[in-house]
Amino acid sequence: MSSEPLSVDILTSPHVKRPMSTNAIMRNVAVALAPVALFSIFAFGLSALLLLSVATISCVLTEWAVCRLSGKPNTVGDYSAAVTGLLLGLTLPPSFPLWMVAVGGAISIGLGKALFGGLGYNTFNPALVGRAFLQAAFPVAVTTWTPPFVQGRFLACIPSTLAFPFLKPTPVAEYIAAANIDAFTGATPLNLEGVTRLADPLDLFMGMTSGSTGETCAVLILLCGGYLLVRNMLDWRIPAGVLGSVFALSGVLHLINADTYPGPLFMVFSGGLMLGAIFMATDMVTSPTTALGVWIFSILIGVITVVIRLKGSLPEGVMYAILLANAVTPLIETWTQPRVFGTTKKASSTS
């Protein structure tokens, strides 16, 4: 070995890193969402495909435009915008007009993310901001449901999908009537009356019902969540807290009065709860970082969901529950800051 000076690089410690990156997390979330998206395309056909594509493209384009306008480095490459777009698409009904989807994507990124300073600073889940905006802006379109597994779904769109921008979507009544599988009513299980008797939890579990594009198949969402969990990219406590509290609270209510309140299994598997609990509430940016905070956060989501579903006028409450929990996340974090080592008031005394 020669004694000539070695070219030494100066880097700060630590010199080893855990092999996990933000990029990889986002990429894996996108990968985990892929089966959900594929199932929805299988169930709802061409409309779902277009819907998901437009949502994703709209989000990515907005992200790109925002970066251009604000002179920041382009952050499209971190996959977060694509994930947001995909999530937004999965929460919308399959018949949703594409121009509204594009609006939703732009709002998600613009209002939900860029305004706060981009990835990492957003207070609310961007996809849900977009979804809530669409819900408030186009209340009819966002609650118009179509049945899954309609014949010919891969060749033709649901008529309202291709509505002309800024104009009312074409009614889907005829489409639903033509589909007419099992005297289908066009409502999601949560909208049906006497829910407990009409919807079989197994159907909900397997995704045989109508609903938002990506929320119908609970088992698939669970499996995809499991994938993320195995890869250590999902905080298991959040789905556990959300689903557990929904199950417990609705279970108690069901025991008290089985006629008014649907059973806990139905509550857990219906609507967007599974998708919300596994893919949206777990958004790291908008959930607390403290252990106790995570539990408070997730139980809060579960409780608000049940309250809105059973006591409010809206059939579905997951989205609002998550947004509200997002809003109080800073408070939860502030109040659950861990006790710093060695600062206990309890005697850290000798034996």
Binding site: L115, K311, L323, V328, P330
Partner: protein
């Protein structure tokens, strides 16, 4: 006439706190909502002060309204209410100064601001037009005050976090607060129909 008189107390609380939140759905008390929501601590203190003043002035306004109606001098209502609120704030200030100097120090600077908080006058005005009973008035004032505080503290939490974020320069200040308030308002829409 209005259906207000048979509003149950739980409905009143839920309605003013969540469904028709004073700040986020009724646009009352926007100025303090924007002005005093920069720190969680100050926000919660302001909230407590407002709840207190609302309760007292609501009770007083109830009494005064009875007198005014009896004297057939309803046209003096507005002047009477604003006078009541201003003096309530003064009295509360003096009272707290005497009884708890610590609390006075904490609330001191916020108390005079409450006089021009339209949420307080709004409570008095709305309870009269809805024709609430005394108990309903108190619950209504309590719910409104809690609702105001809830919105204020949530906003303070978000803003405290936002201090560490790279908010685009142009949106800094009131613009982003309003945008966040808009998102909050959207989120609170989820409570529609609660309590009815």
């Amino acid at each position: 006439m209005s259906g207000g008189t048979d509003d149950t107390l739980s409905f009143l609380i839920l309605n003013t706190l969540l469904v028709n939140n004073f700040v986020l759905a009724q646009f009352l008390g926007i100025c303090p909502f924007i002005g005093v929501s920069n720190k969680i601590e100050t926000a919660s203190r302001m909230g407590v002060a407002v709840i207190f003043v609302m309760l007292v002035s609501s009770a007083l306004a109830y009494g005064i309204n009875i007198v005014l109606v009896a004297a057939d001098a309803e046209y003096l209502r507005l002047i009477a209410y604003i006078a009541v609120i201003a003096s309530t704030v003064q009295l509360v200030e003096m009272f707290i100064k005497k009884t708890s100097p610590a609390l006075f120090k904490a609330l001191g600077i916020y108390l005079p601001l409450i006089t021009t908080n339209c949420a307080v006058l709004g409570v008095a005005k709305l309870q009269t037009s809805e024709g609430y009973s005394f108990i309903q008035c108190i619950v209504f004032a309590l719910g409104s005050g809690l609702g105001f505080t809830l919105a204020l503290v949530i906003m303070a939490g978000i803003r405290q976090k936002l201090d560490l974020a790279d908010v685009p320069g142009l949106a800094k200040g009131t613009a982003i607060i309003l945008m966040i308030a808009g998102v909050l308002s959207m989120a609170f829409m989820g409570f529609a129909g609660l309590g009815s």
